[in-house]
Symmetry: C2
Subunit: 705 residues, 2 copies
Amino acid sequence: MLLRNVFLLLLCLVAVSPSRADDGYRLWLKYDRIANAAERQGYVRVAQFVASPGNTPVLRAASAELTRGLGGLLGQAVPAVPSAGSRTGGIVLRVDAQASAAGQPLKAEGYRIFSEKNNLVITGRTDRAVLYGAFALLRQVQTRQPLAGLNLSSNPRIDFRMLNHWDNQNGTVERGYAGSSIWKWYELPERLDPRYTDYARANASIGINGVVINNVNASARYLSAEYIGKVAALAGVLRPYGQRVYLSVFWAAPKVLGGLATADPLDPQVKQWWAAKSDELYKAIPDFGGFLVKANSEGEPGPQDYGRNHADGANMLAQALGRHDGVVMWRAFVYKAGSDDRFKQAYEEFQPLDGKFDPKVLVQVKNGPIDFMAREPFHPLFGAMPKTPLVLEVQLTQEYLGFATHLVYLGPLIKEVLESDTYAKGPGSTVARVVDGSVDHHALSAIAGVSNIGSDRNWTGHPVGQANWYAFGRLAWDHELSPAAIAREWTRMTLTTEPAAVRTIADMLGQSRSIYVRYTMPLGLHHIMGESIHYGPQPWLAKAGRPDWTAVYYHKADSIGLGFDRTATGSNALALYKPEVQKQWGDARTCPLNYLLWFHHVPWTQKLSTGRTLWNELATRYYTGADSVLWLQKQWLAARPALDPALYADVAARLQTQRKEALWWRDACVLYFQTFARQPIPAPFAPPTRSLADIKQLVQLYQLK
Amino acid sequence: MLLRNVFLLLLCLVAVSPSRADDGYRLWLKYDRIANAAERQGYVRVAQFVASPGNTPVLRAASAELTRGLGGLLGQAVPAVPSAGSRTGGIVLRVDAQASAAGQPLKAEGYRIFSEKNNLVITGRTDRAVLYGAFALLRQVQTRQPLAGLNLSSNPRIDFRMLNHWDNQNGTVERGYAGSSIWKWYELPERLDPRYTDYARANASIGINGVVINNVNASARYLSAEYIGKVAALAGVLRPYGQRVYLSVFWAAPKVLGGLATADPLDPQVKQWWAAKSDELYKAIPDFGGFLVKANSEGEPGPQDYGRNHADGANMLAQALGRHDGVVMWRAFVYKAGSDDRFKQAYEEFQPLDGKFDPKVLVQVKNGPIDFMAREPFHPLFGAMPKTPLVLEVQLTQEYLGFATHLVYLGPLIKEVLESDTYAKGPGSTVARVVDGSVDHHALSAIAGVSNIGSDRNWTGHPVGQANWYAFGRLAWDHELSPAAIAREWTRMTLTTEPAAVRTIADMLGQSRSIYVRYTMPLGLHHIMGESIHYGPQPWLAKAGRPDWTAVYYHKADSIGLGFDRTATGSNALALYKPEVQKQWGDARTCPLNYLLWFHHVPWTQKLSTGRTLWNELATRYYTGADSVLWLQKQWLAARPALDPALYADVAARLQTQRKEALWWRDACVLYFQTFARQPIPAPFAPPTRSLADIKQLVQLYQLK
């Protein structure tokens, strides 16, 4: 009878297990009960309690996450206790100043998980390290890895792992496609949206430890007393999850807020204003991270307005931070009109300043020389500023990669950049090793992802956008990880653990970025998207605010051929790279096709390594790229049985839109470039059924007020 | 043993009953199980099934809502069946072309619920009427009214009950404070966010039957073929819930989209363009509702650009709609510079056009002559255009009423306007009866609320904002309802049914708007808020784009007194009203204090009916108003035991902000006006501890880029 009752209890537990549609809010921290009872029991045996001194907010967050996560996964309460005492079969959190792994002392944030007296010990030199270890252990269970006898350790390879929010004070998000900002400025500091905590949990689970909360096109208001109070309230939510708050600053703040006559970095009053402001910030936010600065770029004010240079400005801010433990991240995204090739402008402005920056200054460089195109060669500044720690800035929000309507997993893009070899100190001087400081032995290292997070219920609009947030954090922690492994990991934690479905979806993710490149900007084409909205195709764009905001500036299509000659016969931007790199890209006959039109103006009739002429290869890539979306749809359908129905329907619908718009890109680009190549669409492909004029109207629509 | 098992089953049902925090998404359609078993059983007896022919999408929506709602409330499945047959104790849906109530035929959307052969019959002449009846029956259960022997019927008093969304094509919402737009244009038409359906359910539950989905400052893109496809997809979601889609139109669309040289309403090509566009719209959306137009207002183009008037423009559009069943709602919110008082400008432009409009045209008039102030006299156009059906436009989003941070229930404001007597056809010619058409016997009647809905999880930012959406719908359906009864009804459905808590909260709601008026713009002060953002106080604002965008234009403070003389000795705007109204407001000694400074420039030393001088009364209202927020906090705390903890905390935090900002308003206004009155803050109130200069900085902050 007892059995029968237990059976009944189980019955109704099953009956009430979460049947409601998955709205994506829980991200990869779902913690749904493990369906397989035997599998579950295996974990139960080694996770019967969580022992934590809990003497810091971070440790309390760690044990709370473990009891919540394990409680959900194991379908039974996992109690938190102050210490294991003589108990075994549990998890022990331990901060140990001497903690080491494989004989090496761990980094401050590195963790180790090992077995001791039939308990699993999560240890590290700081409570933050233990927090990261706690999430690592949960990940093991979420991905169904064994815990028994576990012995793993991990150090972050990069110190500052940053999210940059381009969130505006009015609640909009520049280049955001997932609703409005998650920060509710009118409610702060009194109301702390519970969402802030879930955001902090998600960041901590992937090792992100710094958050720039406002747009680099910054408002001065964040530096006002009232807003510092609001920012401090947010910092209080992020702190227990190991994240420090940073602010983007408006260079002219001393004038706008301080009423000074100038913002000249060498002006004593200006220096004093910033020093006083820093003190005010640290009084409110003792662990304030520092400043991110976009200066003398795209109309933002800066030190050059006063005849000073970027180093003058950055160093002044660094000195203003003074004794406080903060840094200045100064963006190198500048392109003053003048030089014949925007590709070279950041290099020309910043490379000569190498060695002139204060030790507290890092220079933040976008992954490529233009602007977050779907594929770019690595930025020539990487490897060219050995005396300056460089921050790698990648974009997670899909400004140029289909907004929130196209399925594009960015892991491979980020990895491609990290693996690029600058040859700065010989072979193996990859961007990753320049950024993590190992090439030039820098004390500071940092990487930044421009957030794709908004107020949409599922945080990122496209459900797969979550994978980009996730992959960035994982690669920021360890750039040796493979994007494919991360894709599988994310899929298991977020969508399904069914092995075939995991393979299918990870395969979709792995292919998705090259598919997008193929139907939008193949062979090294770049910056041919629509004006200002950056959504659809507009290769015919010939007039804009500045020449380098047009498309023709970049593709240089003419009756002879296509592409931007950046060799010695052209802008010679190629010369900014080390000889080994120049060798890779310098010869049109041997240059990898993915970079071909980045560096060469190639005749339409030129035979490529594929055996096709440029025109035929171009058309082929547009057609096969657009048709690959049909493959994505087929794959997604195949995974359907393993997926939550609401989530399946969401992505399936977005894939329909993606297919429609892939055809839009294809038709726009082949019809436009055909007017130069004057050749037919190659067999077996059928020419577009609409005219170039029809297509142009589609794009104009998005420019309408 | 069976008993024991049943007991166990009950146990775990209880154990799993929704314990998660209420995030407000479900609005007033929560359908949580009725806790009291006896009470529940009472309803079970009369709601054992839902019988519906289900032969239309609307009827299917009605029975789906009943089975969902009753299933939740009764804690057991309520099956839907095609017909009752011989069964009793259930609910029967019946469309009956002859349906009547109390001997009177019902209106097309009027419903009746009555008992027949031990079943409850919900009937009406159309399936939409039955849908409204279904929600009315659910409301009975949600508010714990008896069903047995129920016999009620209700007709809507106004035909078109509209929500106007000021949502922009880029996802922002003009004057929206609850996140971004709920419409996801880049996802449409392929993806239909499930949220659209819940939005439609909520509207249907309060009788809203028309939705203008885009901002009156309209983009032309909604009239493009691509966007018409997107709009049609939305219309498909709203249709089963009895709602028609309308579009705000950009007057110059024939030029921008059609490539015409002009948008002159009398130009044959322009007429033809609009006629063709209407045909295109009705082909895609057979029940398209029509157009809303903001023309020649605040920089928008319009017929006056071509020397035509509003009637020329509106009538051209009406004729373009031609044979289609649609209407034109033409906004009277215009105030061309020139006249000495903005108060009079809409009247001067529109009143002379009375009788010149096509029968398909309605003129949409804001509730007051200025712009959605916290309190305004009713707009003088009401009662002054007997030959034209007037739409009453009220604002639900709290542009001038504290955004989403202040608790302000707008029921009393809307009711105050509806009850205002225009004396157009003698006493009792209330705005309500002008609008519902009964004063002038119009064939069409309409009312519009400017939506406060956004993508925030709880739809309206402030949880009590939901009550404003709710109250608007209920009053639009029946303007005889009392705001207090609606507040109780909403509270029971949304927050708690505990009687004392319902009384407490309904009392808070009832007082909240007068409290807001007292600490912001008492005694008829108006338009003294911050420039452009309209949030904080800025009574000192003396320079702006135009004089009537400043504050001093309206309060006219000087050494003698305060207020705008709109009597014969001043702008004489008062003369726009009927003599009986002029009598109410025309004499400063007898004018109700709530309207005093709307019409009179009153000496600081003038004794008012309260026995206090103007200055002392003004200061007293600011101080008592700000202190009343403490009362709101006390009330909310008292209701705490009956409330969901997350919801309690949310509102409690917002009330803290409200208190802080009430003091901000109080200090700003008393310190500023004191510079004119040159009198002390009256006892027992303590002077502000901060200076006017400090306060001014707070507001300037919100104007910073």
